[in-house]
């Protein structure tokens, strides 16, 4: 099998398109351009097109021929799941992708796996982190209370521009100027950029973040702006937030009483 009769970046892109099953005709011109630019052989282009056409023709039918063997593989994984929970999940996903059994059967496998205690999962540190993330995700972010204006500079490239205080959460808006068009590095699973504290010792947990980059067409630099959300909101007694980014520290007045 050769699936790579193309430069790596092209193979990766085609591979991902293939999984998304766009109409095969959408890639005909892309393949033609690659052949025309001597970046892919006509045979390899034909092989890619054939793969897309086969994916196009996939109507989601169940393929029962593999059902018995698939069931055997999954049952074995489930029987070992107390020690290898994540592996069992991955095996079920791989089998489900084949369409060898009806979707309700796959759902039943997932339900059985889900009934096993999370503590039995394979990677304990990951599991703790996943539980923490689940708890954070379940936290309620309510009404907007107030907005505090910055900016607070945290080194040469980063500044927190404002803080939005919600019921149960605080969101830091930030702006980052990079000379190499990179996103600023993140800290942990939560994907946030800052450590946040207050003088009361409140534990602020990163709940998630988002960012977008404004690419300039001249030069290699870019501006990135984003928003990190932390749980909880500053408690009433906290007068300021202490924000750290890459060993740079700054303070934002909490604005109580405004």
């Amino acid at each position: 099998m050769s699936i790579f009769g193309a430069p790596p970046g092209v193979a990766e892109h085609l591979g991902l398109l293939w999984t998304q099953r766009p109409a095969a005709e959408r890639i005909v011109d892309l393949l033609a351009a690659l052949v025309d630019a001597d970046e892919m052989s006509p045979d390899d282009a034909d092989a890619w097109l054939a793969r897309f056409r086969l994916a196009d023709a996939d109507g989601g039918e169940v393929v029962p021929d593999l059902a018995d063997r698939a069931q055997t593989v999954v049952e074995r994984s489930l029987s070992e799941a107390t020690d290898r929970w994540l592996t069992a999940q991955q095996v079920i996903s791989a089998v489900a992708a084949l369409g060898a059994v009806p979707p309700e059967k796959s759902h039943e496998w997932y339900r059985r796996l889900g009934s096993l205690a999370p503590a039995s999962h394979g990677h304990q540190a990951d599991e703790r982190e996943l539980r923490r993330r689940a708890a954070v995700a379940a936290a309620h972010v309510g009404e907007l209370q107030r907005v505090i204006a910055g900016p607070v500079k945290l080194g040469a490239s980063m500044q927190v521009t404002s803080a939005e205080i919600y019921e149960g959460a605080v969101a830091l808006r930030w702006h980052y100027n990079a000379d190499d068009a990179r996103f600023p590095p993140t800290l942990d699973w939560g994907g946030v950029h800052f450590r946040v504290e207050d003088e009361l010792g409140t534990e602020y947990i990163g709940r998630g973040a988002g960012a977008s980059r404004l690419d300039r067409h001249e030069g290699e630099d870019a501006a990135v702006s984003g928003r990190d959300v932390f749980i909880p909101a500053p408690p009433p007694g906290a007068s300021e937030l202490l924000v750290e980014y890459d060993a740079n520290h700054g303070r934002l007045n909490c604005g109580h009483g405004r």
């Binding site: 790579f4 193309a6 430069p7 790596p8 970046g9 990766e12 591979g15 991902l16 293939w18 999984t19 099953r21 351009a33 025309d36 630019a37 001597d38 970046e39 892919m40 793969r51 086969l54 996939d58 039918e61 393929v63 021929d65 593999l66 063997r69 593989v73 994540l86 592996t87 991955q90 996903s93 791989a94 992708a97 084949l98 990951d126 907007l144 907005v147 505090i148 204006a149 900016p151 521009t161 404002s162 939005e164 808006r173 702006h175 100027n177 990179r182 996103f183 600023p184 590095p185 993140t186 942990d188 998630g208 973040a209 988002g210 977008s212 404004l214 300039r216 067409h217 501006a223 928003r227």
Partner: protein
Amino acid sequence: MAAADRLRLARSRAERYLAALALHPRRDPEHLPPGVDRDAMEAQRGAALHAALTTYAELELVGEQDAAVWREAAEGRSGRPAQPGRSSPQALAMLERRWAELETAGDPEDEAAARQRVWNGLFAVTLAGALSRDDARSWSWRIDEQRAGADPTAHRLLKVRRETRLDDLRRVIAGPARGASGFTVLSAEIFADAIALHWRRRVGLREPFDPSVVSLDDDVGTDYLVLGAGGSGGDEDQTGTVVFSPAPPPDAKRVRVVATAGDEFELTIDPGGIR
């Protein structure tokens, strides 16, 4: 469907599942959007690929040799395509041929299709790492300018997009100011060359929302262009940003923000406020 066709379909599904795991671009951590931990993601993806290959081998959908190819593909993912110092002559020639088709296109429909073919060609050879950074950029501009045609506003927007830097934040004006429709202006960041408005919108309002419809004007007649607009959110609310160029000029005292459903806000520059 014959048994052989069913098996072919199952193999296609297996290959697509493996492709999603093995061919997902590896990116430098610095280029990852926030919220993505590359090491954890890579470890999980590697384990999932191993489990899938083992499963498919047992189901006789993937042979040993194929499994080695998939593993090699996963190891060799390259991330962003490298951009060479010099472009491939064949890549440039392909683009010129497509450009010639664009120049001779007859009606607007043909022209749009021909322009799309130039874009496709540019995308293909950029993915292949066959174009230098300079050539990729100049081809992108060439297509943008052709599309702008004789429209001066479109040309101005292209120029402003190329030149706006957002690297000199002058001040932040905090809201919130809530409109009757549920649209809230959270804050405004005034840069030397642009103004960014952060907004929030309660989602109960299920109708689609295009943040680029938000507009600005001021008391000195500045013509603001939307440089970029976007948002994200879940079941409860959405938040996002609209960036305009230029910044309010020094003699502007008030900036009016016109949002949706008749909501209007007034931004006072000095002292700063939003209402």
